[in-house]
Structure formats: structure tokens, C-alpha cells
């Protein structure tokens, strides 16, 4: 067995162990440890990615080499390693981009707690990506929730506490539903590992024995994940949680946390239930409708905001809607589009949050629409990042957002049912125009000179933030202009799921 095969497991274990270690370190040391851990995890994931790419096939990794009923398994394929590498990369950039604000926003004695949460979050995200065992998936959903809650709360404002409470309640509801769903599935299949579960489910469908419980279980799982990833009717916790947290938290929460759950859902669809069965029990149509609703209503809510961080947060609701719309199409092309959109949205949204925080000096008062007028002249790189992020979200060619929109449109044409195709296309068009309304408006706003010299910020501009924003801009362009290999990797990765 090649030693590289251990890497994914190490990349989960490393941040998990470094969490407790951080608790006895000072804030500064914890920060350094966290930086090292995220980098190393990323490198390990990249190594695993290269390995899977070269061997051309996925493998299951048994922890401690115990077989199924006792041991635990993770599965390493092209898609998993790609996602893991990308998540580590975005996380690294977000944390680095938010250093200044982390330092200012969080009291000195709580700094190391922040990095504990970050490490745990990374660990749980990677576990969600790699897991081959549904129950492990559930466990890490909970760990993820707790870590995310800590990240929302750590700034210590009243608003944050409120947002964290909201988030906690909604999230626990979601994970509760997931747990119920998993118990039902365990009851009717007798397995928790994905492959045997899938075999059992195929038999159940053939024998028509437990069709109703199966449908209920799948429904509960989808609703649970939908709540946790803020699909449209369940999004009420999102704007507060994303809008008022410290910079790095907002960036990571919006770009990665919900995506971890969504990735688990993809695995659930492909590896546990099977896409044809999903179609048979019509869960895809339901997701499609809610996805479309999210695309439109998320944007409409965003237009109504005067607080720009809330505006960006609401735009996440719309973008999550896109992802679920792609699931709803339930074709390979739709799924590829959605996975690509996960990448595009992660790259764009975290950049938007970092840029916005730099423009508003990380304060809530300055994130107001009026206060931001002319902010571009305070911080040029950040405003460039904001502009690129906005244009990407709107879907201007050369940027990642455009590419994912084209993939969606292509997927819509391939879906086979004309009403679905038309609805998807019209929703894409409407949501694009709505996106343009608030993002471009905001872009013009920050570039409108106010006449007087802008007052100097309370937070000094940091070069680290600049580098992070630059890297994000580069990622957006790379995804927009060179999407072809990424597309192929996603395709191969999905094929490996079967």
C-alpha cells in the first residue's frame, strides 16, 4: 500500500489533534499553528489528489485496518481530494485575509479559542468530504455545527449571540432530522457504510418492501441538509450569522461550511440512494422548485438590504438556490454545474466578505450602503476584489460565475423535460438580472467619489489582506478562463462515485 493513501486520514486527524493543543497556546502561537495545520492539510490533500489522478481510481481507506462492522472507513476519490484541496486553500486565504480583523474583533484571551474552532471546522469539513460511513457523517455534522457556532459567537456582540442562538436552533433541528433519517435507513438496510447501504436500498426498491420509509428517510435527510445549508425557506438564520461575524468567520461560513453539508448530500444521492431512485421518488423535483425559489427570493431579499454585509449574505441564499437547482435537474451535467458552482461561489463569496470588511474597516456601522460610498478610494485592492467578486456573481465572462452559469444552461438543455428546461433558463435569466441590480449598484456606489477625502480607517491596511484578495482574484479568473480541466476532474470524480 502506498504511503500516500494515509494522507487524507492524516489531513483530518491533524487539525483535530491541533485543536486541543491550541487550547494551551497563546493566541499568537495558536494562529501560527493553525496556519501550519491548514497549509499541511492542504498539501496532504493535494498530494492525495495527484495520487488519485495518477492511479485513476478511488480507494477506500480503513482506519486501523479493521473491517466494516467495527472499523471506520473513509473514501478517497478524485472529487473528494479536489474538494478537500480547494477547501483548504480557500480556508487558508480567508483566515489570512481576515488576520487583521480577527486581531481587532476578538479579545486577546479568546484568540486561541477562535483558532481551535477553525481547526475543528477544518477537521470536520474534511471528514464530511471523505467519509464513507453515514454515521461518521452525522457525527462530523454536529462537530461542524458546534465549531461554526463558536465562530459566529466569538466576536461577542449581542447580535452575534443572537445569531449564534438562531443558528444553533436551526442547525440542531437540521441535524436532528438527519439523525432520524439515518436511523430509519439503518433500520431498513442494516448498514451504515455507503456501498452496502446502496446495495440494500436497490433491493428494497426492487422488492417494494419499505418504499415509504425510504422516501421519508430521503426526504428527512434532504430537509435536514437543506436547513443546515440555508436553502430558501430555511434561510432565516443565515444573514445574521454571516453578516455580523468577524471577517474570517463570515468568509469561511459562507463559502465552505454550507458546502461541506452539500457535498455530503451529493455523496448521499450518488453513493447511498442512487440518482435514478432519487428521480423515482421525485425528491429532485422538490429540490428543483425550492432551488428556483431560492435563486429568485434570495436576490429579492438582497436588493432590500441597506447593510451590505447582509446583502452579500442574502446573495448566498440565491447562490445556494443555484446549487440545489442543479441537483434538481438530476443529470450528470446538472451535478457537474452545481459542483463547479460550489467552487465558483466559494472563491467569489469569501473574496467579497474579505473585501467588504476591508472597505468598511470591519465595523458594522461602516458596512452601511451610504457609508460605503467612495470607499474604493480608501482601499484600492479590496475594492478591486469587491468589483471582481460582484462581476463574477453577476456572471460576466472570464470570471468563474459566468462559467458556472453556462454549465447550468447547458445542463438545462440536457434535462429532457421541456418545462423544467424553460423554468431553469428563465430563473437563470431573472436571477442574473436581479444579481446585477444589487451587485453592480453596490459596485458603482463604492466607486462613486464623495468629494471629500475619506477619513482614515481605524484598521490599517494590511499587506496580508492584499495578498489574499489578489489570490482570490486570480482564482476567480482561473476558474473562469481555464475551467476545462476542473470540469474533467469533476466528471471523472462523479464517475468514480458510481
Amino acid at each position: 500500500m502506498d504511503f500516500v493513501r494515509n494522507f487524507p486520514f492524516f489531513s483530518i486527524l491533524l487539525p483535530m489533534i491541533s485543536g486541543p493543543i491550541s487550547s494551551v497556546l497563546s493566541g499568537k502561537r495558536a494562529k501560527r499553528l493553525n496556519f501550519a495545520v491548514v497549509t499541511v492539510s492542504g498539501l496532504l490533500s493535494v498530494a492525495a489528489f495527484v495520487y488519485v489522478l495518477s492511479t485513476g481510481e478511488a480507494f477506500n481507506y480503513r482506519m486501523g485496518a479493521f473491517p466494516a462492522p467495527f472499523g471506520n472507513e473513509i473514501r478517497v476519490g478524485l472529487l473528494e481530494t479536489m474538494m478537500a484541496s480547494f477547501f483548504c486553500f480557500v480556508m487558508l486565504l480567508s483566515i489570512v485575509g481576515g488576520y487583521r480583523f480577527t486581531k481587532v474583533d476578538i479579545p486577546e484571551e479568546k484568540q486561541n479559542l477562535f483558532y481551535i474552532m477553525m481547526n475543528l471546522l477544518l477537521s470536520s469539513l474534511l471528514a464530511l468530504i471523505y467519509t464513507n460511513d453515514m454515521f461518521t457523517g452525522y457525527v462530523f455534522i454536529e462537530i461542524n455545527t458546534i465549531a461554526a457556532c463558536g465562530l459566529i459567537m466569538i466576536r461577542g456582540w449581542g447580535r452575534n449571540l443572537l445569531a449564534a442562538t438562531k443558528y444553533m436552533i436551526m442547525s440542531l433541528l437540521g441535524s436532528g432530522l438527519v439523525l432520524i433519517s439515518l436511523s430509519i435507513l439503518y433500520g431498513i438496510t442494516g448498514h451504515l457504510l455507503m456501498e452496502p447501504m446502496h446495495e440494500a436500498i436497490v433491493k428494497i426498491i426492487e422488492q417494494r418492501t419499505y418504499n415509504e420509509p425510504l422516501t421519508v428517510a430521503v426526504g428527512l435527510f434532504c430537509v435536514g441538509i437543506a436547513i443546515k445549508s440555508a436553502l430558501f425557506p430555511f434561510h432565516s438564520w443565515l444573514p445574521d450569522a454571516y453578516g455580523y461575524s468577524t471577517c474570517a468567520s463570515s468568509a469561511i461560513l459562507s463559502s465552505l461550511v454550507s458546502k461541506g453539508y452539500i457535498f455530503l448530500l451529493i455523496k448521499f444521492f450518488y453513493r447511498v440512494i442512487g440518482t435514478d431512485i432519487i428521480h423515482q421518488i421525485q425528491v429532485d423535483d422538490v429540490l428543483f422548485v425550492f432551488g428556483i425559489a431560492g435563486m429568485v427570493f434570495g436576490s429579492i431579499s438582497a436588493i432590500q438590504q441597506t447593510d451590505v454585509s447582509r446583502m452579500i449574505a442574502f446573495s448566498s441564499v440565491a447562490q445556494i438556490g443555484y446549487i440545489y437547482m442543479g441537483f434538481g435537474l438530476n443529470t450528470e451535467a446538472g451535478m457537474i454545474a452545481s459542483i463547479f458552482h460550489i467552487l465558483a461561489h466559494a472563491a467569489g463569496k469569501s473574496m467579497l466578505f474579505i473585501s467588504l470588511n476591508s472597505l468598511s474597516d470591519g465595523t458594522w456601522e461602516y458596512a452601511n450602503y451610504r457609508k460605503l460610498r467612495g470607499a474604493a478610494y480608501r482601499h484600492k485592492i479590496a475594492s478591486l476584489g469587491f468589483a471582481v467578486g460582484s462581476l463574477s456573481m453577476v456572471g460576466i465572462p472570464l470570471l468563474a460565475g459566468f462559467t458556472s452559469k453556462v454549465y447550468y444552461a447547458k445542463a438545462a438543455f440536457g434535462v429532457g423535460s421541456t418545462p423544467k428546461m424553460l423554468i431553469a433558463l428563465v430563473a437563470l435569466a431573472i436571477s442574473t438580472v436581479l444579481n446585477a441590480m444589487y451587485f453592480i449598484g453596490q459596485m458603482i456606489n463604492i466607486y462613486t467619489p464623495v468629494g471629500t477625502e475619506p477619513e482614515p480607517g481605524t484598521v490599517k491596511h494590511s499587506n496580508v489582506t492584499r495578498v489574499a484578495v489578489f489570490m482570490f482574484i486570480a482564482v476567480n479568473f482561473v476558474l473562469g478562463m481555464g475551467s476545462e480541466p476542473v470540469f474533467r476532474w469533476i466528471q471523472t470524480g462523479l464517475a468514480q462515485f458510481m
Binding site: L391, V394, G395, I396, P397, L398, T403, V406, Y407, A409, K410, A412, F413, T418, L425, L428, A429, T432, V433, A436, M437, I440, G441, I444, T448, P449, G480, M481, G482, S483, E484, F487, R488
Partner: protein
């Protein structure tokens, strides 16, 4: 091979110019900004000429999306538009050097002008729909700062209006692009990749449902692209954006940016769906009807408009739709008229907007009523204006006559039922209205009515009053710090301009050579191409032979 590489270089050169201007090195002196801008525009111009001489070449840059590369091709249509664009850019840039004296932030203007040129080159030379769409969006993003340049409340709101119209239109276009791609034939041009093909690349074996779907998609696509062209119902941004932009920018907006919309329409109608597909469909009649309606409405609104630049903007709405009428007739002769009118209108409208700019720059007058007798102050400018006006009305031997001849003759030859008679009728009515709003202005400019004694006396008294200001007024620099920089809306409130008489005209001054040279060149162009249209028709005939 080197010839093919020249095509992306035409995009790259103005882009580099813009980047150079953005570096802190060139922030300092106005002269260096002008030299750099002028040099890069000239270089682009030379490159385009070189590309035109080398004949049809194509080059695939990189794959933007799987199987959809950024792809350039210098076919005859591309060269047609590219040469027009650089020629107009040259004149407008030359004009702007003087004109921008009275605007702030000249560097920013030059940067966005160069960026816009780069985007336009991209649109011209693009060889497939996605590349066109890409540069089309870039063009919108590069041009809206030009509209907003003055940063008054009106100009910002106009810029945003322009942006939303353009983006919404382009997204309608994008949906059409998806449809076109999904119904495309496997026509292998560069590695199985779909690119423009004369006569269209749509599969021949579409079912009835698919035909209906495609027709609907193309209809909405063309409506969407009509927003750039200024076709009803998405024409609303034109009369808002043109008057507030600096004159050289409005000249380019009106003369060239709208033409890029037309190029996209040509690319869709003649090079993607193919004219046969649309012939006789409801979509053709609906689009033709809308275009005709726009021709009439535009002229009507221009006739009623009091502000000079707004009048020109409405005139653009009307004139660009002439081109659309010619295209949507889907017949060779009418299309010839359309292609010719693209060039002629571009030259003429550039000329007229630059005249408006010269008048604003020299006197600060923005309304039609204030321009009586202006020919006495600026005779050369107003003679150029008159020539342009005559060309736009379509009086022989000026160029507009030729294109309208082809349009009317072409319409009568088609099989479009009552439409073919309607087209010449509307053309004539619109020409009359055009004469009404331009030629009357030209005559008023030279022939001042002096028999109104009372009015004359009043004017005389007023003249005394303003006599102290006149010396300063004569000096261009001083004028602009005061009244000329004022926006049209402010002039509405304080109508301080006195009537020009033969005496007061002595104190005025003609525009400077920087402004006059472009005007004279453009005016000569309208006459020249009217006399020798065969220089152009051969080229167009080659394009049309391949399409029909």
C-alpha cells in the same frame, strides 16, 4: 501564422495602452496622457489595416469553456466593422484632446476609451458567439464609466440606466446563445468547435417543436441585442446616456457602440441561424415591425426634442433602426443598404455629435433654440454640420442617399407582403422628419432673422449687459470654468444665452484645429462615399454572396 496573431494583438494593444495610463508614471502631465492615448489608438489603427490587408485568418486563443474557445476570425464582416471602429476612434480621440480641456479626469476618460476600443476590437474580430458575448459585456463595462464621466446626478443615473439596459439585453442574448449552441450542426471548423458560418450553422433536421423553440429564442435574443442598438422597446437608455456623456464619448456611443449591437445581430441572423431559417416566420415580421416603429418614433421624438444632443440621440434611435430594417428584410439588396448605412450613419452621427461638442465647448449652448446664428461664430463647424445633416436626410450626392436607395429598393424586391410597401413609406416620412429637425437647424444657424425689432433691441440691451463678460467669454479656458461645464439641466433653469447677431458674432471664435480636422474629415467622408459608393459595395457584395 503571424498574420493570425495580429488579430488578438489588436485587442491587446489598446489594453496595454490603458494599463500604461493606469500606472502612476503617466498620471502627471496632460500632454503625456494624450501622446500615449494617441499613439496607442494609431497603433491599433495600423494593426487593423494590416489585418485587413492580410485577408481572412483565424486563431484560437484558449478554451474558455470545454469546446468553446476564445476564437478570432478576420472575415470580411469583421474587417468592415473593425476599420469603421478604428477610423471613428481616431477622429473622436483627436477631438477629445481639445474637448477634454473642460472636463476633469482626462486620464480616466482616456483609460476607459482605450479599454472600450480593446473590447470593440474583440467584438469585431470574434469568431464565435461566446467570444462575441464576452467582449460585448466587456464593452458595456468599459463604456458606462464614459457615460458617467461628469459625475453629476444625471450622468450617474444615466450610466446606471445604460448599464442595466445593456446587461439585461445581453443576458437575453446569452439565453439565445445557449439555444443556438444546442441546435448547432457539428460543423468542424477548429477541432469540432462551433464558429460563425455564413448562412448559419443550425441543424437542417429540426422538428417543428424545436423550430418553434429556436424561433422564440432568437426573437427574444434579437430584442435583447436591440437594447444596444436602441430598438424599441429597449431604447430607453440612449436619450438618457448620450446627452450627459462628454461629446466625443457620445459620438462613439452613438456611432460605434450601437453598431456593435448591430454586428451581434448580423452575427446571429446571418452567421448563426441563417436568413433562410427566419424568412417568413412571425419573428421576422415582428422584428421588422418593431424596427420600423422605432424608425418612425425616433424621428418623431427627435423632431420634438429641444436639447441638441438629445435630439441627436433620438435621431440615432431612428437611424440605427434603418439598419435593422435592412437586416430583418433578409434579402441581399436590403442587406446591402443596411451594411452601407452602418458606415454612413456612423460617420455622420460622429460628425454631428462632435459638432455638438464643439458648440458646447466653445459657447456652452446646449439647446436648439440657443443655436440660432451660431454659424456666424463657427462657420466651418456649421458647414460640416449642414453636410452631415444633408447626408443623414439622404439627399444625393451625399452618402445617406445611397444606403436609403438600397434599403427602399431592396424592400420592394422582397416577398414580405405589405411590409415591403410600408418600408419605403416609413423611410420617406422619417427622412422628412430628419430634414425637419436637422436642416432647419442648419438654416437657422446661418440665416439670422433680424426683422424682429423689439426682440433685436432687447437682444442689444442684453448684449450690453453681457459685454463685460464677452472678452473672458472669447477665451476658451475661462468659459468652461463658468458656464460650459454646467450640465444641460442647469442650463434649463438659467437661460442666459443672448441671441447671436451679426455684430456679436464678430467676438466669437471658430473651434481650434484639433476639433476642426476631425469634423472636416468626417464631412468629407460623407460626401466622398456618397459619390463613390462602389468602393464599399463590392466588399459588401462579397459578404452577402457568401450569406445568401
Amino acid at each position: 501564422m503571424i498574420g493570425a496573431w495580429l488579430i488578438p494583438v489588436t485587442v491587446l494593444v489598446p489594453l496595454l495602452g490603458a494599463i500604461l495610463l493606469m500606472t502612476p508614471l503617466y498620471r502627471k502631465s496632460t500632454l503625456s496622457v494624450r501622446v500615449v492615448t494617441g499613439a496607442f489608438v494609431t497603433a491599433t489603427c495600423l494593426l487593423v489595416v494590416a489585418v485587413a490587408m492580410l485577408g481572412e485568418k483565424e486563431i484560437e486563443l484558449f478554451e474558455l469553456l470545454p469546446d468553446i474557445p476564445v476564437f478570432f476570425r478576420s472575415d470580411k464582416t469583421a474587417v468592415w466593422f473593425a476599420v469603421l471602429t478604428v477610423a471613428m476612434w481616431m477622429t473622436s480621440t483627436l477631438f477629445s484632446f481639445e474637448y477634454m480641456n473642460h472636463e476633469r479626469r482626462e486620464t480616466r476618460y482616456c483609460v476607459f476609451s482605450l479599454l472600450a476600443l480593446a473590447a470593440l476590437m474583440g467584438v469585431c474580430f470574434s469568431g464565435n458567439l461566446v467570444t462575441t458575448y464576452l467582449f460585448y459585456e466587456m464593452m458595456t463595462l468599459a463604456t458606462f464609466p464614459l457615460v458617467m464621466h461628469e459625475q453629476t446626478k444625471e450622468s450617474i443615473s444615466a450610466g446606471i440606466t445604460y448599464l442595466y439596459y445593456s446587461l439585461a439585453g445581453a443576458f437575453l442574448g446569452l439565453i439565445g446563445v445557449f439555444f443556438l449552441y444546442s441546435f448547432a450542426e457539428e460543423r468542424s471548423v477548429a477541432g469540432g468547435v462551433i464558429s460563425y458560418a455564413a448562412g448559419g450553422f443550425i441543424r437542417g433536421d429540426l422538428s417543428n417543436n424545436e423550430r418553434t423553440a429556436l424561433t422564440i429564442a432568437v426573437f427574444f435574443m434579437l430584442i435583447g441585442l436591440g437594447s444596444k442598438v436602441g430598438m424599441y422597446p429597449l431604447h430607453g437608455w440612449l436619450p438618457k446616456a448620450h446627452p450627459v456623456a462628454p461629446a466625443p464619448a457620445s459620438a462613439l456611443l452613438s456611432g460605434n457602440i450601437t453598431k456593435m449591437g448591430i454586428l451581434f445581430v448580423i452575427r446571429v441572423v446571418f452567421f448563426s441561424v441563417g436568413p433562410e431559417f427566419l424568412q417568413g416566420t412571425w419573428a421576422q415580421y415582428a422584428l421588422l415591425g418593431l424596427a420600423l416603429l422605432t424608425v418612425f418614433l425616433g424621428s418623431m421624438l427627435a423632431f420634438r426634442e429641444k436639447v441638441f444632443k438629445k435630439r441627436l440621440a433620438y435621431s440615432t434611435v431612428s437611424q440605427t433602426s434603418y439598419v435593422l430594417v435592412g437586416l430583418y428584410l433578409l434579402a441581399p439588396v436590403a442587406a446591402m443598404g443596411a451594411f452601407l448605412h452602418i458606415i454612413f450613419h456612423s460617420i455622420t452621427k460622429n460628425l454631428l455629435f462632435l459638432v455638438a461638442g464643439a458648440i458646447i465647448y466653445k459657447t456652452g449652448r446646449t439647446k436648439v433654440a440657443q443655436m440660432k446664428g451660431i454659424g456666424l461664430i463657427m462657420p466651418v463647424t456649421m458647414i460640416c454640420f449642414t453636410l452631415g445633416g444633408l447626408a443623414l436626410v439622404g439627399i444625393p450626392p451625399f452618402s445617406g442617399f445611397v444606403s436609403k436607395w438600397y434599403l427602399a429598393a431592396g424592400a420592394l424586391k422582397t416577398e414580405t407582403g405589405p411590409m415591403r410597401f410600408l418600408v419605403p413609406v416609413i423611410l420617406i416620412i422619417s427622412a422628412l422628419l430628419t430634414a425637419g429637425y436637422l436642416i432647419t437647424m442648419a438654416s437657422d444657424a446661418f440665416f439670422v432673422v433680424e426683422e424682429h425689432e423689439g426682440h433685436g433691441a432687447h437682444g442689444g440691451a442684453k448684449k450690453e449687459e453681457t459685454a463685460s463678460e464677452k472678452p473672458a467669454d472669447a477665451d476658451a479656458e475661462a468659459v468652461f470654468s463658468e458656464n460650459a461645464a454646467a450640465s444641460p439641466a442647469e442650463n434649463d433653469e438659467e437661460d442666459e444665452f443672448d441671441v447671436i447677431t451679426a455684430d456679436s458674432a464678430q467676438k466669437g471664435r471658430e473651434a481650434s484645429p484639433f476639433m476642426l480636422i476631425p469634423l472636416v474629415v468626417l464631412a468629407a467622408g460623407t460626401l466622398f462615399f456618397g459619390l463613390f459608393p462602389s468602393l464599399l459595395t463590392d466588399w459588401v457584395a462579397q459578404i452577402l454572396n457568401s450569406v445568401f
